[in-house]
């Protein structure tokens, strides 16, 4: 009878569930296992970048609209919550939601007319959009303090989303990442998700079948902007200093897309995998070589990027899937 029970529990169809829960369990334990502020910092960056990349993935991966202007939303989130906090003492928890809302609205207004653009043209429009937002943020000094940037006074406390030590930041970043992950996961399995897959594959065909592609893209974009802005707020609360040139930089937009692409675009786990690879790589290359030889660490990073893109054009997740399939196969045989 016991073997009967064992057989039931360890049935093949639960295998994926066990694997995933183990992984989640590990992730949840990571902030406790990683010791040392520098390594905790890297973990926070991993989670943060994964969350931002996963947010980008909603429009870039699932909807297939390659945006390279997402830093605009990130910065909008950072600036909105920071200004609300510094000027009127409004908690960043609320500021985060307001920032997300503003970003979503801006995203909707801008992207709606742009959705008729295909391929690289949409991308170019988003690049221009990102630059426009950056220039405006510097220009309107009265509102944003311009290039001078804003320093956030350190007043630790959960109501201010500021903490002593790294652990709390770690968990908050982790929770953000998991939230976007679950949102992606749910979308994947919903009707909305199917519409997105359809329009990503062949937009005209999807339209012909009655899918309102514009509405779908709009929803994905606004959702994506909302979560990206939240990541911006978190980053501001962590670094405690924001300036237009950093928050709105095109390099940041490229990074979000890059992480999703390396990990596996259009999948829920892709951005997480991508961040676990790229973020430590960047940090450790810089830590190891940055002080010694000017430029060498970024040169190597660029070369690795080229290599990974060439070897794994579909992203690292292809391997993960093959790996899981193999395990499933072997378990099946035994």
């Amino acid at each position: 009878m016991i073997s009967d029970l064992t057989q039931r529990i360890f049935h093949l169809k639960y295998l994926k569930f066990y694997l995933i829960s183990t992984l989640f369990g590990l992730l949840a334990l990571l902030p406790l296992l990683i010791r040392g502020p520098f390594y905790s910092h890297i973990l926070i960056m991993i989670f943060l970048h994964a969350a931002a990349a996963a947010s980008w993935n909603l429009i870039g991966g699932y909807a297939g609209q390659l945006s390279l202007g997402h830093a605009a939303f990130y910065g909008i989130g950072a600036y909105t919550s920071t200004l609300l906090f510094v000027q009127w003492g409004i908690s960043p928890w609320l500021g985060m939601l307001v920032g997300g809302g503003v970003a979503a609205v801006v995203a909707g207004l801008f992207s709606f007319p742009c959705f008729k653009l295909r391929g690289p043209f949409f991308t170019l429009a988003t690049i221009a959009f990102g630059e426009v937002v950056r220039i405006l943020a510097i220009y309107f000094r009265g509102l944003t303090r311009g290039a001078i940037g804003i320093t956030i006074p350190f007043r630790p406390g959960i109501e201010n989303l500021m903490f002593h030590g790294k652990m709390a930041y770690c968990y908050f970043a982790l929770v953000t990442m998991m939230t976007v992950f679950f949102v992606s996961f749910l979308i994947e399995r919903s009707r909305f998700g199917y519409y997105l897959v359809a329009l990503r594959g062949d937009e005209d065909a999807a339209q012909a079948l009655g899918v309102n592609t514009t509405m779908c893209k709009l929803m994905a974009m606004m959702l994506s902007a909302f979560f990206t802005a939240i990541c911006g707020t978190f980053a501001a609360q962590y670094v405690l200093f924001i300036e237009p040139i950093s928050e709105f930089s095109i390099d940041r937009s490229i990074l979000f897309a890059l992480i999703s692409i390396i990990g596996g675009i259009g999948t829920a786990a892709g951005p997480i995998i991508g961040s676990f690879i790229l973020t430590p790589l960047q940090e450790f290359l810089r830590a190891w070589l940055g002080g010694q030889y000017q430029g060498l660490h970024i040169f190597i990073y660029g070369c690795i990027l080229i290599a990974v893109v060439m070897l794994l054009p579909e992203g690292v997740i292809v391997w993960v899937r093959t790996f899981v399939k193999r395990i499933t196969y072997y378990v099946n045989i035994s």
Binding site: L66, P113, C114, K116, L117, R118, G119, P120, F121, T123, L124, A125, I127, A128, F129, E131, V132, I135, L136, I138, Y139, I254, A257, L258, I261, I265, Y293, Q294, G295, L296, H297, I298, F299, Y301, G302, C303, I304, L305, I306, V309, M310, P313, E314
Partner: protein
């Protein structure tokens, strides 16, 4: 007269933009890849010209002759090594390989040559012509006329030669060109080579005007994309006119609005252009759709 001088400044600036964008319009028009490394090729050609001047005493304008074949080959190799293998993959991968190439080139230059600003000061660099009330700098004038010359040469090449016609065919309609028996990969290699050679010419022409340092390319690359779209992808004359227009927009908006917003104006123009007439001034309508799938 101030307005006249502003217009001249704008046109001369536009000539520079055109020079940089001609190469990109060929690459973008034929291969349809957003080449983020374009600015870095410009940077490398400026460095090449600088070192030829510094070490061998070769005048920048003369160095063009040496640089053209080198950069043609460099472009060919880049296409062969990095872009051709992943052409079948998702379009984003092609973009991100160019990002990798761009990072590697920029920081390779930083590693090898440090971040110092390198300038050349040949005797003619400071010559300015005075035509009535208007002032025109010699290096800028040379750059302006060079872009016209390049456009003419390429125009003749594309119109009159068999290879040129094949390139145009691929730019207009990829599938039809395939059906016509054109060897796509060879065309891509040649197009990338020509495009890179063009930006290779731009480098020595810009060196008497701007100092070179590893990140100099990043200031030009976005403008180049705006010009290419404005002019119509794959269209040389379009790139030239587009460059002039953007130059004029920048000069006038910088003066009448504020210099801080001069880039903003052409980005906004760019977005409007994309929304209203994505084929650009002289592109074939619908050419931007074909070859997307």
């Amino acid at each position: 007269m101030t307005i006249g001088q502003i217009a001249i400044n704008g046109l001369l600036l536009g000539g520079i933009y055109a020079l940089i964008s001609i190469g990109l319009t060929i690459i973008f028009g034929v291969i349809r890849v957003i080449n983020f490394a374009h600015g870095e090729f410009l940077m490398l050609s400026m460095y090449a010209s600088f070192w030829l001047f510094q070490l061998l005493g070769i005048d920048p304008y003369v160095s063009i002759l040496i640089i053209i074949p080198i950069f043609f080959i460099a472009g060919w190799l880049t296409q062969r090594a990095f872009i051709q293998p992943i052409l079948k993959g998702p379009a984003l991968m092609q973009i991100f390989i160019t990002v990798g190439v761009s990072l590697a080139m920029m920081n390779g230059a930083l590693f090898l040559w440090k971040a110092d600003y390198r300038s050349v000061t040949p005797s003619y660099a400071a010559v300015t012509f005075k035509m009535g009330d208007f002032l025109i700098g010699l290096p800028r004038l040379v750059a302006f006329f060079s872009s016209i010359v390049i456009v003419l040469i390429l125009y003749l090449f594309l119109k009159k030669t068999h290879l040129g016609r094949a390139i145009r065919a691929v730019a207009q309609d990829r599938e039809a060109a395939l059906l016509m028996g054109i060897n796509m990969h060879r065309i891509y290699l040649i197009a990338f080579g020509i495009g890179t050679a063009c930006v290779g010419v731009a480098g020595p022409l810009l060196l008497p005007i701007y100092p070179v340092f590893p990140t100099v390319g990043t200031y030009f690359v976005l403008i180049a994309f705006v010009v290419v779209v404005l002019g119509g992808m794959g269209n040389m004359t379009g790139a030239f006119l587009g460059g002039l227009i953007i130059g004029l927009i920048e000069a006038f908006s910088g003066f009448f609005i504020t210099p801080q917003l001069q880039s903003l104006v052409y980005f906004v123009v760019f977005i409007l252009l994309l929304l209203l007439k994505p084929s650009g001034l002289m592109g074939v309508v619908g050419a931007e759709e074909i070859g997307m799938k």
